[in-house]
Amino acid sequence: MSTMMATQFRSDLKPIWCPGCGDFGVVQAIYRALAAVGRPPHEIAFVSGIGCSSRIPGYTTAYGFNTVHGRALPIAQGIKLANPDLLVLVAGGDGDGFSIGGGHVPHAIRRNLDLTYIVMDNQIYGLTKGQLSPTSPRGLKTVTSAYGSLEDPVNPLLYVLAYGAGFVAQGTPADMAGLAAVIEEAIRFPGFAFVNVQSPCVTFGQAEAQLRAHKAGMQKLTDLGHDPADRLGAMALAQRYGEALHTGVFYRDPSPRPTYEAAVRERQTSLGAEAPSRARILEAFLPRTSA
């Protein structure tokens, strides 16, 4: 049992989020999950991209890195590879993860570094004041889709399941205990773990995507009798993204793949034994004419 308190992870910075923003709930759930996991803040690197939700690392006492739009995952992988002992959290919005940074997600999944990626999915661009997002429903009218969106949304759950993520879950701040629990489980999962958080935008979001609606409509996957080891079952449930709000663990690989950093460490060890000193690296260039 960890002796850490959730408050130890809260920084002095005052969030810039709108009153009632779902992200307040997400950061609270992260404090709780981190307290439960019990690693001290200085052993945690918390990386984000750009967007309302990407302000989140600054509201924690961890080492934070609020980077550029869409690139949190590559930067986080560099951190984890440089120091595999760190607990590395990655967070951002749906635009960050599935629009501008969408190309990085499959590669983070197939490499399988031990990262926890939390997407605060509100189906809208809030920081730039109400434009279409990659998860906005078809037909949504926004300032950049005056007559309604002509595109189908990305399905984040199906996307990461299809690419082979070992841990996929969804939560909502309407169920704080459930959200904190899936984030904690994601952190504890040894490999790439994805948590989609339905985090309402109170200012630009749709009425049916607010906390009250979440509370009324959400269905716990455990209540549905879903077995988290059943990947195809998870994919069938994930297909209902946008119409149903399932919370809990969609998929947890019962026998997690080895992580990338473990393979790196193995290679470093096996090759490191024969390492010449750095000062002798130039000997690699001595020309040789005999075997």
Binding site: L13, P40, P41, H42, E43, I44, A45, V47, I50, R55, P57, G58, T61, A62, Y63, G64, F65, N66, T67, V68, R71, L73, P74, I75, A76, Q77, G78, I79, K80, L81, A82, N83, D85, L86, G103, H104, P106, H107, V264, R267, Q268, L271, G272, E274, A275, P276, R278, A279, I281, L282, A284, F285, L286, P287, R288, T289, S290, A291
Partner: protein, 596 residues
């Protein structure tokens, strides 16, 4: 006897011409000659024409050389496709495949009467001796060894090593092919013998490297522990070398999904406390630009190598150009200064890359190394480097007392603040692309923004005083000044020596720090000369124009600049120097005219 030879060879893709060139330079290096080997290919992935040039000398060689002393054409179509890359002239000895049916007095070299023309049944000799035309390149090696005195024993030893996996029959066949070449040369001596003099005795063994490999080795020497990148010609060998070696030193190499992710991972590794590097070429640099801005504002050390090629866009990806200087200097949003360094040779790439890491770490900034395809992919003999004389700098980490009330971006006299890293208790901070206060808290305050800009820009000022990054050669009172950077510095050095041999007093400034512009270094050089040339391989004369932003460039200092692919040769620079000298002479005579 001759003190040096420039040999150019061309053939079809499978002829093994480049392989022959490699055998020659290995043998030359082992024997103690100085040499440079450049290779050139058609645009095909496999097959197509290929060529190489080898300059081998008893003295240090500064560039791949100009007009060929020896031209080898396995077939004329392929040879002629290389045009200006294989220039022939009145002193060239031409060796060609006699089966081509071309008569010796009809070789297709327009307007040139070669010194000697030697048709040789190369293919037939290979078939007779080795039983296969595959041994044509070995016949050529035998011919060159026989006619020009090129170290037969070392060549044979190298061949044996190269063919060791192919079995005794192949080796024996190649031995016979080599002997056939030697024998043919002995039977048909040159009218005017041109044998290469023996190398100068030396106790230390020379190294043989190309610029990309030695750049990667320098990174390891400097303590680099992470490389993230994406394959792009002509920089990929940097990643390939590190992919073989870096693990041994506890490091890791990530072939990322794209150029942005490659640099992103490097930024992350640097944030986590490791020395880190990426390498790319022009189009990749364009993609990395936003991420470089993040490293600048988060004040994270990293090295970004740009091996320049012909641009814009895909451009001429297998040939050299110096046209990414504007990009290196200016492609940034906001007020940014990123140090830009340029190596001038393969050997120099080692020290310049280590220095790039040192500057990155000392000043907590991304540093761009502007290499170019010429240096990056040519093979060069390198005199032994005394690595014990090269310093290695680490970032300034906070001391224990500084971790109490730690402020990541604290304003200091040097404008550099101690840099903590995850895992360090008390060093916790928020790194960000957003403007921040001394603690790292996001801010939109104009006053803080101005102060932080001042901090990030002023911290680099001491760099401009590093006179070691500027090299001047030639007589101090020379009235003509040359300025050249990157691979062209080698051509300019040779041009200066050729000019000196003609009695022309010329000096040369070679900057290795291109940006920030050191006003002092250029002022003192420009003040001391009357006329001169800024020599560069870009259509726009990019360095000349950057200098004019910061320095009063005298009117007599003119750009000598042209697009890349065909490097500016020492002879061309010499011709311009002669014109400069004549112009000076005219001014001098005008001054002596009595006033009417």
């Amino acid at each position: 006897m001759t003190s040096e030879l420039v040999i150019g060879m061309a053939g079809a893709g499978g002829d093994g011409i480049v392989s022959a060139g490699e055998s020659l330079i290995v043998a030359a290096a082992v024997e103690g000659y100085h040499a440079i080997l450049t290779k050139s290919f058609g645009s095909q992935i496999r097959g197509g024409e290929s060529s190489c040039r080898l300059r081998v000398s008893v003295d240090p060689v500064l560039n791949p050389g100009g007009t060929l002393d020896v031209a080898v054409a396995l077939n004329w179509d392929d040879f002629l496709r290389f045009g200006a890359e294989l220039p022939t002239g009145g002193r060239t000895v031409v060796i060609y495949e006699s089966a081509s049916g071309v008569a010796p007095d009809r070789v297709p070299l327009a307007g040139i009467v070669p010194a000697e023309v030697l048709p040789v049944p190369i293919g037939a000799m290979a078939r007779e001796s080795a039983g296969t035309e595959k041994a044509k390149n070995t016949v050529v090696l035998g011919l060159l060894a026989g006619w020009f005195g090129l170290t037969p024993e070392a060549i044979l030893a190298g061949l044996h090593r190269k063919l060791s996996k192919k079995g005794p029959e192949v080796i024996a066949g190649n031995d016979r092919a080599f002997a056939a070449g030697l024998w043919h040369a002995a039977e048909h001596p040159l009218a005017a013998p041109r044998r290469l003099a023996l190398p100068r005795p030396s106790t230390a063994r020379k190294l043989l490297a190309d610029g990309n490999d030695i750049c990667a080795a320098a990174a390891i020497f400097a303590g680099c522990q992470f490389f993230g990148g994406y394959p792009i010609t002509p920089s990929t060998e940097v990643m390939q070398f590190l992919g073989r070696e870096l693990w041994r030193y506890g490091g890791a190499v990530l072939q990322a999904e794209d150029e942005i992710a490659g640099l992103g991972a490097v930024v992350g590794a640097s944030f986590a406390g490791r020395k880190a590097m990426t390498a790319t070429s022009g189009p990749g640099m364009s993609l990395k630009t936003e991420m470089l801005g993040l490293a600048t504002v988060a004040e994270l050390p990293l090295v970004c190598v740009n091996v320049q090629r012909g641009g814009p866009s895909t451009g001429v990806p297998t040939k050299s150009e110096q046209s990414d200087l504007f990009q290196a200097v200016f492609s940034a949003h906001g007020d940014v200064v990123r140090p830009v360094l340029a190596p001038t040779s393969v050997a120099d790439t080692f020290a310049v890359t280590v220095e790039a890491f040192n500057i990155a770490e000392e000043f907590q900034t991304p540093v761009i190394v502007l290499s170019d395809q010429e240096i990056a992919q040519r093979k060069e003999t390198v005199d032994p480097i005394d690595t014990s004389a090269i310093r290695v700098v680490d970032r300034r980490r906070p001391r224990a007392e500084e971790l109490v009330g730690y402020e990541r971006f604290r304003l200091t006299d040097s404008h550099v603040s101690p840099l903590s890293q995850p895992g360090m208790e008390g060093g916790n901070y928020l790194a960000s692309g957003i403007e921040h206060t001394e603690t790292g808290a996001p801010t939109a305050s104009g006053e803080v923004h101005a102060r932080m800009n001042e901090k990030r820009l002023r911290k680099l000022d001491p760099l401009k005083e590093r006179s070691a990054l500027f090299e001047v050669e030639g007589p101090p009172d020379a009235p003509i000044g040359l300025l050249a950077w990157g691979s062209l510095a080698g051509s300019a050095r040779e041009a200066r020596r050729l000019a000196a041999a003609e009695g022309l007093k010329v000096k040369l400034l070679v900057p290795r720090l291109l940006y920030p512009v050191s006003e002092r270094a250029y002022h003192s050089f420009f003040r001391s000369v009357t006329r001169g040339l800024v020599i560069e391989q870009s259509h726009q004369a990019q360095l000349y124009r950057v200098l004019r932003m910061f320095v009063d460039v005298p009117r007599g200092m003119e750009p000598f600049a042209r697009s890349g692919a065909n490097p500016i040769r020492p002879e061309e620079i010499l011709e311009r120097v002669r014109q400069q000298a004549m112009a000076l002479q005219r001014v001098h005579e005008d001054e002596l005219q009595p006033q009417e």
